[in-house]
């Protein structure tokens, strides 16, 4: 392709990506490097239906001039990244020097907001991603073996978890695992413990969030694999059958090698999605037990006083995290691409 035709061909999508992806990210990075101006605190009398009292307030006139001069705020550099609510450099150093044992160090680390959120996010990603791929693959194999007449309805049913709005799907599960719900009562019966409550236990809450994550994203892996299964070379399969290969051997030596490139694709998408886990934590009211990086961003923006810079810093750290997670897959794709040429 000529350079000029290539240029005009990609220009529209390049422009869209710049406008909707690159510029917002640059703006977020910018925001994370600034903090608010010093707010001059004065004591004022405020009165209302319950009488008068002296309370602290911000001297607006004193801060207005500063705001006008530097509307972005005060340059903070990496200060927000280093503070206790993010990377907590000082606190981590302190925990390391004063540690009694490695376990003690990790205990202190888990007491810091960012690292605790990171721990949950990574655990969630590490467990949900492979299980999603495995379950998606099993469902695809299963559906592919169903009689042709039944496939339409089976595919529809298998896709339901993805069709249901995430918040609604999570809420349904949340009510079902309530101590008085269907699943909650069943769990109590199985465990023979009438006081067992999923919502009161951190490990059970983590498991529930992950079960929900697998339930809601397995259909995605399924549909990709199912499409891939339709392109498996039937000659090879028949040849394998004639050679006496069992069903398992056919899957292992013919189907799986054929689907490997798709696995890379699914892994890529799922790693990104799972690292940004958010909705189930809100739906399950799980914030006492589990927080993710995305939830931390939401929490910063949802309070009565919005913490824009803090949210921006966590966003940038999340993007970096996604980048690190994806790098092995990306490197691999790049190498494969190189080989083909």
């Amino acid at each position: 392709m000529k350079h000029s035709s290539f240029f005009w061909f990609v220009l529209p999508s390049a422009l869209l990506m710049l406008t909707f992806i690159a510029f917002p990210i640059i703006s977020v990075i910018g925001q994370s490097l600034y903090q608010e101006h010093e707010q001059v605190i004065i004591e004022v009398e405020s009165c209302g239906p319950f009488g008068c009292s002296v309370t602290e307030a911000v001297d607006l006139e004193a801060t207005e001039a500063l705001r006008e001069a530097q509307p972005l705020g005060e340059w903070a550099g990496l200060a927000i990244y280093k503070d206790r609510n993010h990377l907590a450099i000082a606190e981590v150093g302190e925990a390391w020097t004063s540690r009694v044992s490695t376990g003690d160090f990790f205990g202190s680390l888990m007491n810091l907001t960012f690292y605790r959120a990171l721990a949950f996010t990574l655990t969630y990603t590490a467990i949900v991603t492979p299980l999603t791929i495995i379950f998606g693959f099993l469902i695809a194999i299963g559906v592919n073996a169903v009689a042709r007449a039944m496939r339409g309805p089976t595919i529809f049913l298998s896709l339901l978890p993805m069709i249901v709005t995430p918040i609604v799907g999570a809420l349904v599960l949340f009510w079902m695992v309530d101590a008085r719900g269907v699943l909650g009562t069943a769990l109590q019966w199985i465990a023979d413990d009438p006081t067992l409550s999923v919502k009161a236990s951190t490990p059970l809450m983590w498991i529930m969030l992950m079960v929900y994550g697998i339930w809601s994203s397995a259909p995605f892996a399924f549909i990709v694999y199912y499409a891939g299964l339709q392109t498996v070379n039937t000659d090879t399969l028949e040849a394998a059958m004639i050679d006496g290969a069992t069903r398992w051997q056919r899957i292992r030596y013919v189907v799986i090698p054929h689907l490997v490139p798709l696995t890379t694709f699914i892994a890529l998408i799922q790693l990104m999605d799972n690292f940004r886990v958010f909705e189930p934590i809100v739906s399950f009211s799980a914030q006492a037990h589990a927080r993710s990086l995305s939830f931390a961003i939401f929490n910063d923006l949802g309070g009565e006083t919005r913490l824009l810079s803090s949210a921006a810093a966590t966003s940038v750290l999340t993007i970096i995290g996604v980048g690190i997670l994806l790098s092995p897959v990306l490197v691999r794709t790049w190498r494969d691409f190189g080989k083909q040429r």
């Binding site: 707010q39 602290e56 307030a57 309070g303 009565e304």
Partner: protein
């Protein structure tokens, strides 16, 4: 426009309000606010719209920052007005009060540093709600302190009436922080070093407040960290709870005959504010809800908004259905049994929720960290130290601390 038409059809004709301009309301969603917004919309000659949603706090600053502002008025409470004042998006109402609001009583006017910033129309507070039949069964008086609540709860459990007789909105986040705020004020604690934004809760009172909260949770449904006000109300209506600290604005729903058995709603009674320890200060906070006028709007729209909202919160809106919706601050308000808890709180000298610009940051830090202590993961002192550290980092970012 449809809202205006519907409201006009049901109008009693008691309101005489005529103005010319745009009126656009952003506010929380509960019956009393819906009444005020509907009455404001009845004003003739205005271009009216309203957006009442539980997410109003995430919308109001953004919706009032533009010029002209999308919302001409925000209905706020004493906690949420500070964000609007800090962002400089609402205007002082002194001139408008002088011109159109002569008959608004002084006690409804919220002044900050001598300037009228809002007009309050209702009061709210959390207070004891109890089941009279259950207390009668165990032969206990109505508790006035959390210590008595614990004693009664133990008796109820021992008598086999209820397994988890205590309720409370202890959902991690805003609700949990609110319960600590109540309890800490009840112990006589001060949140900040006066005159500064330096937090000071890692003290005896802080530990006392946390310990009392933990003692109460022993008698709560084990899922308490996921129970917000709605879920707690549902537990009450299901008949699982006999004692709880609940918002006055939500007790009407508990005492009506919808959603629960007669034995529950007939025996649902309202008590006063509870105390903790011997400080004498009730362990709850007083709240007002009121309306403001946006800064970035034309003088014409500001005047129309003021007139419509003044009409919407005038004594004329009080009738049989609206009377029990809230503790109204307007003249002509007749309290009903359901509202006694809030009035008792005012009488007992409860502390208003602080109108400090940085109180919200502490509230967020509280809501994020208290669950660790209640779940037994760490000591009270460690939790309080974590809260202080999280607050300090956030307050530094916002420029309150250097």
């Amino acid at each position: 426009m449809l809202g205006t038409a519907v409201a006009a059809l049901s109008a009693t004709g008691a309101l005489a309000c005529e103005a010319d301009g745009r009126v656009s309301i952003i506010g929380n969603e509960f019956p009393a606010i819906q009444t005020v917004a509907a009455a404001a919309g009845e004003c003739s000659g205005i271009e009216f719209s309203s957006n009442l949603t539980a997410d109003h706090q995430t919308l109001n600053v953004a919706g009032m920052t533009g010029d002209p502002a999308e919302y001409t008025t925000a209905i706020v409470a004493n906690s949420s007005i500070v964000a609007l004042i800090n962002e400089d998006v609402i205007q002082p109402l002194d001139d408008l009060v002088a011109e159109y609001g002569q008959d608004i009583p002084q006690q409804q006017l919220i002044t900050v540093d001598g300037k009228i910033m809002a007009v309050a129309f209702m009061a709210n507070a959390q207070h004891l709600v109890y089941r009279a039949d259950v207390l009668e069964q165990i032969g206990a008086d109505v508790p006035t302190s959390y210590e008595e609540v614990l004693a009664a709860a133990e008796q109820i459990r021992a008598a086999g009436i209820m397994e988890n007789p205590v309720g409370g909105a202890y959902a991690a986040g805003w609700n949990l922080a609110q319960e600590f705020t109540n309890m800490y004020l009840g112990t006589g604690g001060e949140f900040f070093t006066p005159g500064t934004a330096e937090v000071s809760i890692n003290n005896e009172q802080g530990v006392e407040a946390l310990e009392m909260m933990k003692a109460l949770t022993e008698y709560m449904n084990p899922d308490y960290l996921t129970h917000d006000s709605n879920a707690t109300s549902a537990e009450w209506e299901a008949g699982n709870v006999a004692l709880m600290n609940m918002w006055g604005s939500r007790t009407g729903v508990l005492m009506d005959d919808e959603g629960s058995e007669p034995v529950v709603y007939e025996n649902t009674m309202v008590g006063g504010p509870l105390t903790v320890g011997d400080s004498g200060t009730p362990a709850n906070t007083l709240w007002w809800d009121g309306w403001t006028v946006a800064k970035n709007i034309s003088a014409e729209d500001a005047a129309a908004t003021f007139q419509a909202m003044a009409a919407g919160s005038s004594p004329a809106i009080l009738d049989e259905t609206t009377m029990s919706q809230a503790v109204w601050l307007m003249e002509g308000y007749q309290p009903e049994a359901v509202n006694e808890g809030v009035l008792a709180s005012v009488a007992a000298g409860s502390t208003p929720y602080p109108m400090r610009p940085f109180q919200g940051l502490l509230h967020t830090a509280l809501g994020d960290n208290i669950a660790d202590y209640l779940q037994g993961n760490e000591s009270a002192e460690q939790t309080l130290a974590d809260i202080e550290a999280a607050y300090t980092a956030a307050a530094t970012e916002k420029g309150f601390l250097q």
